[in-house]
């Protein structure tokens, strides 16, 4: 069933934890709530789960308004950041807990628990207590416990944050495979943008309780709604500048003290004389000769080799820092102190007016 959040708001006294959150998650899709610590992700998720009563706004699942429905009637599967496994119950009993509450008969219960243990590769661990399991195993028990009840909504609160980087990626992909297999509509909380981009269909970026932008990973990365989103998702260079003139839909701006650059469709507010910043992603920069036209003249400060790419840290004529991600073979032969040209790829600049 699809989930619809409408102007969801939660305040604690005068502090606003979540302000006017609206989002729609179609049946079987996954929404990632992404944002820095304290931006209201957990609060939003817990309002959907029914643990926190919203100050105003509504939550609908399918055609039903569940805003005031108590948590135990909501039919949600929830995976907590700390897993919240019952410490006095074995892995199998933890998984069976929800089935017992639903009065599922013993034979069917055992069969479903076993199937779930198999699916999550926990077969040999059924009788272990949570404290006798590793972090990754506990995490899988928590996922199994949430999935076995066939919930109509799956909620995940930073479920992978306690896992190491490698396990995190594989578990994340496994999770999204299961979510698609079960056709679950789900909300996934994370502050890790790579994780959000790799497993969610839609990403909602939040800041200080406010929704900044909602869209697919590529929309958010390629057309960020504001400077915060551009900065939070991926790496970003911001070049201060001023609009010189309009040319139809486009505009020409002077960036980083000197270079004239064409901005594609910068919006109606970008009138001549307006101050602002242009976003330039590190991977949208090509190395050029330092004298070539249409490129920034920069002094190399540091080269960090990353394997697939090399990050070139350099300084522009006006003193601002810039990072360019280039193929490692292009960076060969460069050394700190050397003068290079950095050429933005076509249509790579995105204009943000000064607010």
């Amino acid at each position: 069933m699809d989930i619809q959040l409408q102007n969801l708001r939660k305040t604690y006294g005068s502090a606003v934890a979540v302000a006017d959150m609206s989002a729609k998650i179609p049946q079987g899709r996954m929404l990632a709530l992404l944002g820095p610590s304290g931006c209201g992700k957990t609060t939003t998720l817990r309002m959907v789960a029914g643990f926190i009563a919203p100050t105003s706004g509504s939550i609908r699942v399918g055609a039903t308004d569940i805003t005031t429905l108590p948590a135990h009637k909501r039919d949600t599967g929830l995976v907590f950041q700390s897993y919240a496994l019952f410490p006095h119950l074995s892995a199998a009993e933890n998984i069976a807990f929800g089935l017992r509450r639903r009065g599922v008969a013993r034979a069917e219960r055992e069969q479903r628990v076993t199937a779930m243990l198999d699916k999550l590769k926990l077969s040999g661990l059924a009788d272990r207590l949570p404290r006798q399991l590793s972090g990754g195993q506990q995490q899988r028990v928590a996922v199994a416990r949430a999935l076995v009840i066939n919930p109509s909504i799956l909620l995940l609160d930073e479920p992978f944050s306690n896992l190491d980087a490698k396990l995190r990626e594989s578990t994340g992909l496994e999770m999204s495979r299961l979510q698609r297999e079960f056709g679950l509509t789900s909300i996934f909380v994370t502050h890790d943008q790579t994780e959000a981009m790799s497993i969610a269909d839609t990403i909602a970026v939040m800041k200080d309780g406010e929704l900044q932008q909602i869209g697919s990973a590529s929309e958010i990365y390629e057309r960020p709604a504001n400077r915060f989103v551009a900065d939070f998702i991926g790496r970003a260079n911001f070049l201060a500048g001023r609009i010189l003139r309009r040319e139809g839909q486009d505009a020409v701006a002077e960036l980083a003290a000197g270079l004239e650059m064409r901005l594609l469709d910068p919006g109606a507010a970008a009138l001549p004389g307006a101050q602002g910043e242009a976003l330039l992603r590190p991977e949208a920069i090509a190395l050029a000769d330092h004298a070539s036209p249409g490129s920034f003249k920069a002094t190399v400060e540091q080269i960090s080799y990353q394997g697939a790419i090399a990050n070139l840290h350099a300084r522009l004529a006006d003193g601002s820092a810039i990072v360019a991600s280039v193929p490692p073979e292009d960076a060969r032969g460069l050394a700190p102190g050397k003068l290079v040209g950095l050429a933005p790829k076509p249509a790579a600049l995105i204009w943000f007016a000064k607010s």
């Binding site: 789960a49 948590a71 135990h72 410490p87 006095h88 207590l129």
Partner: protein, 289 residues
């Protein structure tokens, strides 16, 4: 570079350090607890002629003392039950409430601990006397048609002692509930358990060890309490502690007083061990499942 000898010395030191740290406490414990208790045991089992069980036989043969022991254990059970019924919900709410007043409220509930049991028992005496507040209140509300005497009754002792020991129960349970992650309750609810069921299956289940510990603490303190029973209960509510006092201080029968003290001590120890075994056994069963 460290030489092997130095390393060996370090290891030996690491072995002895805990023993050394433990020594002062063990010394005080031995001199001021074990030794006096042992002497007590010795006094209770000797007379002019040497070893004897006479004092214990006197206890066993006299129904008056059995009654006192029974009354003492009954007092302990009643006080434990009352403090549990009042303490569990209070401690739970204090542990779960999000308000900034929670700390202050907890301080308030433990405030009576700062006042001596004698003073608090005097407070109850004021309420319990035939023409005290309680008697007047009950008559005014129509629950009684003539003055009620709560003073010098077992009921009075139970009420007063429960009040004296309630803060200890709340403090113990508060710590227990605070240590149980609230998300466990939420997890149970999201799996379909009604809040009350989640509370029973998860929170109270996980708190059971702490609840037993708190009950044991209150029970032991209740059956060895002296000030409250002697002030509020007087002669009609004779319990083990007051009987020991009577034998030792008024009748100067030290050996018999020592025998009574030993019986009280053994009762408390036996109960503690039984509870401990109960908890341990359950823990093992769980791990094996």
């Amino acid at each position: 570079m460290t030489k092997p000898e130095t390393k060996g010395g370090g290891a030996r030191w690491a072995l002895f350090a805990p023993a050394l740290l433990f020594a002062p406490c063990a010394f005080v414990y031995a001199v001021f607890f074990i030794w006096p208790q042992a002497s007590l045991l010795a006094i209770s089992a000797t007379d002019a002629a040497g070893l004897t069980l006479a004092h214990y036989q006197r206890f066993a043969g006299d129904s008056y003392y059995w009654e006192i022991l029974g009354r003492t254990l009954g007092l302990g059970a009643a006080v434990t039950a009352i403090t549990l019924v009042l303490g569990v919900p209070t401690a739970y709410l204090l542990a779960r409430v999000q308000s900034r007043w929670a700390g202050f409220l907890l301080l308030l509930t433990t405030f009576p601990l700062l006042v001596s049991a004698v003073v608090r028992s005097f407070g109850w005496m004021v309420l319990f006397f035939r023409d005290g507040l309680l008697s007047h209140g009950l008559m005014a509300l129509g629950f009684a048609d003539k003055p009620v005497q709560t003073m010098y009754t077992m009921a009075g002792v139970i009420i007063a002692l429960a009040q004296v020991l309630l803060p200890l129960m709340i403090l113990t349970l508060h710590g227990v509930f605070k240590s149980i992650d609230r998300d466990l309750e939420y997890a149970a609810m999201s799996l379909g358990a009604r809040p009350i069921v989640a509370l029973g299956l998860v929170t109270l289940r996980l708190a059971s060890g702490g609840i037993v510990a708190g009950s044991l603490l209150v029970f032991s303190l209740a059956i060895s309490a002296f000030a409250t029973p002697s002030l509020v209960g007087g002669a009609r509510a004779n319990v083990m502690a007051t009987a020991i006092y009577e034998q030792a201080i008024e009748l100067l029968d030290w050996p018999f007083a020592a025998a009574l003290a030993t019986i009280l001590l053994v009762t408390v120890l036996a109960l503690s061990l039984a509870y401990g075994a109960l908890l341990e056994g359950r823990g093992e069963r769980e791990a094996a499942r």
